[in-house]
Structure formats: structure tokens, C-alpha cells
Subunit: 334 residues, 2 copies
């Protein structure tokens, strides 16, 4: 492995000059710069980032915190796309992404502080954290810049980003209302996801703005799995609840809901309309294809990453949380 000093020796220059030439300092003439650069390339010189980081006290490392084992596998695709956005953004910067061992879920994890300090990590991008995760407390200590997806956390160094859940629910409900539905059942997810109460609230708000009374009887709690959607609708049917449409807080639950409806001989959307949330990629391929609220997952990652970058480079700037727009995707199910 060839290093700076080798170039210096070969050229009869000092270490300092070589370093400066490569880093484009003004104190070195353009001729020597050129010379140094050329020979560096010739010799196949590659700078050693560790040494550099050590000297600069800068790691250019962002750590990704996410969970592999979401209970609903569909959530994986959400996470993956968000990460794609993060990666894409930081690809334009000198930052690398690092995934530290272990899982968000595992209980014998290292404290966040250790993870970050030992590796000189400069920022954290968190996706898929549960509301009961102890890391949240650590994040609140505010010792490192962080952006978290879908969990409201605002301190001096950490902020959050999420889809506009309120608007999403409004789009869904308004659309159903516009199609003549007055009795819209709602299937929510569990409380370990911070978005669940938001979506319930969005549902209520949208009902109100349409002059429709909220009826606790046609709201069911699910847990984002297909089965929970299936169970919720089965339950509603058994109770002979009065509804002509179902709004599910996730696509997977919507799929489950549809399955339950079909089994009872009900047609979607003719008898009961169904709207999902997320627009995971199979929404398009399920049958009937799902009308749903699309989250822009890539943007969530990309813009979140941009925000994180901002916090790191410009710590004084006041933070803001970001809301990413959502979109109603009309397909067959409603």
C-alpha cells in the first residue's frame, strides 16, 4: 500500500506539500499540484481514510438504525425504499453509511452512545423504531444528530420526518365519501407504531369535515398484518355492523380485509369498497388491485437524509420536522 510519504520521497518533496497538493491547498503552486497528482495516480495512491479521520476528527459516517424483523414483511419494502433514498442522498456527499451489528429489537444491544462514539459516527438515521424502544430515551439525550422516520422526536439535534398521515386519511375518506359512502369502517394498526394514533385521528378529522358522525362500533384495532385485517372485517361482519366501505391503515390489512369480504360472498368494490395505506409494491398486483394512499418512501429517506446532513454541517440552524406529501392512488378496490 503506497502512502503519502512515498510520493514525497519519489518527488523530493515534503510530506506536507504532497498532502496539501492533493487536498488542493492554495499554498502550493499549480505545477507541483499537477505533478503530485499525476504521480499519485501513477503510483495508484489511495488515501487512508482512517488516518485521515483520525487527524481530522471527522469520520464521515452515518449509521443506519433499522429493524430486519418487522412483524409484517411488507414493512421491509418500506424500510428498503427509505434506505434507498438515504443512500442516494448521501451518495452525493463524502459520507458513508454504516450498519452496526445487531438489531433494533434485540435487547442486549450496545448503548447508542457506545456505538456512535467508538466509531466516531456523526449522525443517525432511524427507521422503524417502536414506541417502546429504549433507544428513544437515548436519542432524547440529544448527544448526536439524528433523523427518525415516523416517530415524533424534536430536540436540538434530532428531528423527524413522516408522511402527511392526516392528509392521507383525508384523501381516503373524502374519496370514499365522494363515491357515496357514509359508513366507513376503519382498521387501525397497533400502538407500537407512532403513526397509528395519527391515522386514527386523521380518520376522525376527515369524517367530521364531511359531517359524518364518528362511530366507535366500526373501528377495529389490527396490528398491520394481513390476518389482523381479515379478523377485523370478519368481526365486523359477524357483528352485522353497518358499513359500505373499509379504510385500512395499511395495505396488508386491506388485503386481509378483502379476503374476508370475498369469503362471505361480498364483492369488492361493488358491495364494499376498500382503501389501503402505504402503496407497497404488491398493492398493484393484488386482486382487486388496491386503491390506496401512496407514501413516497424514497423521498422520506432522501429528504430525511438531507435534513440530517444539514444538522451535521450546520448545527446552529434551527430544526424543523418534515412532512412528506402523500397521494391517492385509485385502482380497483374502491
Amino acid at each position: 500500500m503506497i502512502k503519502l510519504i512515498d510520493i514525497a520521497k519519489k518527488l523530493g518533496l515534503s510530506l506536507t506539500t504532497v498532502s496539501r497538493a492533493l487536498n488542493d491547498y492554495e499554498e502550493v503552486s499549480s505545477k507541483t499540484k499537477e505533478l503530485v497528482r499525476r504521480t499519485a495516480k501513477e503510483l495508484g495512491y489511495v488515501p487512508n481514510k482512517f488516518a485521515r479521520n483520525l487527524a481530522l476528527k471527522k469520520s464521515h459516517l452515518i449509521s443506519l438504525l433499522y429493524d430486519d424483523y418487522q412483524e409484517t414483511i411488507s414493512y421491509q419494502s418500506f424500510t428498503f425504499e427509505v434506505i434507498a433514498g438515504v443512500r442516494n442522498y448521501f451518495g452525493r456527499t463524502p459520507y458513508d453509511l454504516i450498519i452496526v451489528p445487531g438489531n433494533l429489537k434485540s435487547d442486549k444491544r450496545e448503548p447508542l452512545k457506545n456505538i456512535c462514539y467508538s466509531r466516531g459516527i456523526e449522525g443517525l438515521f432511524v427507521v422503524g423504531i417502536r414506541t417502546n424502544d429504549p433507544y428513544i430515551e437515548e436519542l432524547k439525550r440529544d448527544f448526536i444528530p439524528a433523523v427518525v422516520v415516523d416517530y415524533p422526536l424534536m430536540t436540538k439535534k434530532v428531528t423527524y420526518i413522516q408522511s402527511d398521515n392526516l392528509k392521507g386519511c383525508k384523501l381516503a375518506v373524502d374519496y370514499l365519501v365522494s363515491r357515496g359512502h357514509g359508513r366507513i369502517a376503519f382498521i387501525n394498526g397497533h400502538d407500537l407504531a407512532a403513526v397509528s394514533p395519527l391515522r386514527l385521528n386523521g380518520y376522525k378529522t376527515a369524517l367530521k369535515s364531511n359531517g359524518i358522525p364518528f362511530d366507535k362500533g366500526i373501528v377495529k384495532a389490527g396490528n398491520y398484518t394481513e390476518k389482523s385485517g381479515y379478523d377485523a372485517v370478519s368481526q365486523l361482519l359477524k357483528e352485522k355492523a353497518d358499513f359500505t366501505a373499509v379504510f385500512a391503515a395499511s395495505d396488508l390489512m386491506a388485503v386481509g380485509a378483502i379476503k374476508a369480504l370475498k369469503e362471505k360472498g361480498l364483492k369488492v368494490p361493488e358491495d364494499i369498497a376498500v382503501v389501503g395505506f402505504d402503496d407497497v409494491f404488491f398493492a398493484e398486483y393484488s386482486h382487486p388491485s388496491l386503491t390506496t394512499i401512496r407514501q413516497h418512501k424514497f423521498d422520506l429517506g432522501y429528504i430525511g437524509a438531507m435534513e440530517l446532513h444539514g444538522i451535521i454541517e450546520n448545527p446552529e440552524r434551527p430544526l424543523r420536522s418534515r412532512k412528506i406529501d402523500v397521494e391517492l392512488i385509485i385502482r380497483e378496490s374502491a
Copy 2:
């Protein structure tokens, strides 16, 4: 940030002794070890990995090379699950995973060598590489331990891992034959995926072992997208080809195939049976749910990672490529 020398000063010990105490060297008495460890903990000491790496010339860094922008979004879930396996394996080791900026696809990427050398990366885990990717040439230069998924590459330091495609095809064809199908159409993927020829070959082999002649007329080339599956089958139908079953080299193409069949009023599986490949997660939720060949994606990652770890820690050990077992998942479509 507190460092070794601080502990040393506080305890009136030398830097050396403190370092050795923390690293459990024999040359230091257990009393001092204990003392040092305790005060280290008290002071909240966290070792600086950069400094450590620099001194040890060891980074404990594995780089993940993968592509965010597969043309078929379903491939994302494959990649994600493989990576989950990799992460899970290395979570038990001192290695971290790093994602270097940029994308497998982008053409103005850094040479692999630079990426690795500048960060002291010790191993590469590659998933989703195309057959025409220039990185393949670099990998062949054999300058760094690597494990690649689904692309056959075997040198002193790099090996590969893949699902047992041959067996997968045999399972699919045998199953269809056992259900009375003698005319099985095949929709393959494009040649940028190294698995495509393997699957075609598996199809042929399986036909032969069942005494069924190979008929080029019912084999179509797709590109792993839903549309290509749709087009392939539409084409077959237009040509009035003689077939009672379709075997698609990916689930997404299988879904497309089913769509085309339905549109022509054919029932799946009653009129035409369809089998896919991969078992991506929506296979279960499509309609009819897909009979398919399941790839154990997590294992691909986990075992591949284990292999990579082996290459790094024990470079002399002869390499072997690995085949991961596949499984026939019988659902409704066949």
C-alpha cells in the same frame, strides 16, 4: 471524549498498561486489570476504533454492494432479505457493514479497489450484480475477499452462493407433470441475470428426465417484470401455442402471466396452471395465490456471510461455492 491516557493519568499507570489491561493481556496483574476496567467504565471510556484500526491495520469492515434500482421492484425484497441474513451473521462478530455511496449501476463509480483500500475494507458482499457489470472484472483480479450472490465467480479469494436453481426447476416441472401437465411453457428472464440460463437449463433438464421433448415454441424470453410475463403469455396465446401450464422464472412474471390468462377468459389453475420462482412475499397474497419455488433468501445472506468471514479469517482454506436448498410451495395457482 475521554481516552486511554486519561485513565492512565488518573490511575498513575502507564498508557501501555491501561491499553493492555483493557485488552486482557497476560502481562498485567488481575488486580490492575480490574481496577483499570472499573475506572474505564466509571469515566465512560469508549475506545476509538479509528485509532485502533490504524494501529492494528484492521478495519473490521465489510462492504455491501447492491443495487437500489432493480428494474423489478420485487427484487428489492430479495436483496433486503439477503442483507438481513448478512447483517444477522456479522452481528455475532466484531465486523460492521458499510454501504459505500453510489449505486452498482451508476457508471461514474469509483473503482472497487479505491473504495476498499481507502476504507480498509476487508471483505465484499455482493448481491444483484449484472452479468455486464465492470465490477466483475475487478472482482476477478482477486484483490479482496468477496462473496457474490447469484453470479458464478471463483478465484482464490472470491466465491459465490446461489439457490439450487436446477433443483428448483426440477421441483416445479415435476410437480406440474405430476398434475398431468405435458405441455409446460417457460418464461425466462433476461441475460443480465446469471441465473437466467441456469433456470432455462433446469427447465430443459427436468423436461428430459420426465421424457418430455423440449419445444422451443413454448419458451419465451421475459425480463423479470410483470409486463414481460403478461406479454409472453399474450404472445403464446396469440400464436395458439399448445400448453396447459406456465412456469415463470420469477413470481412477478408469473403474476403477469396470470393476468394475461385471466383476460382471455382462462381460469388459473383449472385451464392453465402457473408456477413462479422466488416466493417473494406477495406471492401469498396475489390471486390466485402463487405456487412457486421458494428461495431461502435470508440463508443466502447468512451462509454467504459466514463463508466470507471464513475467507477473511482463514485465507488459506480452500474455497467452495455454496448452493442453498429451495422448496416447492404449493398454493392455488397450480
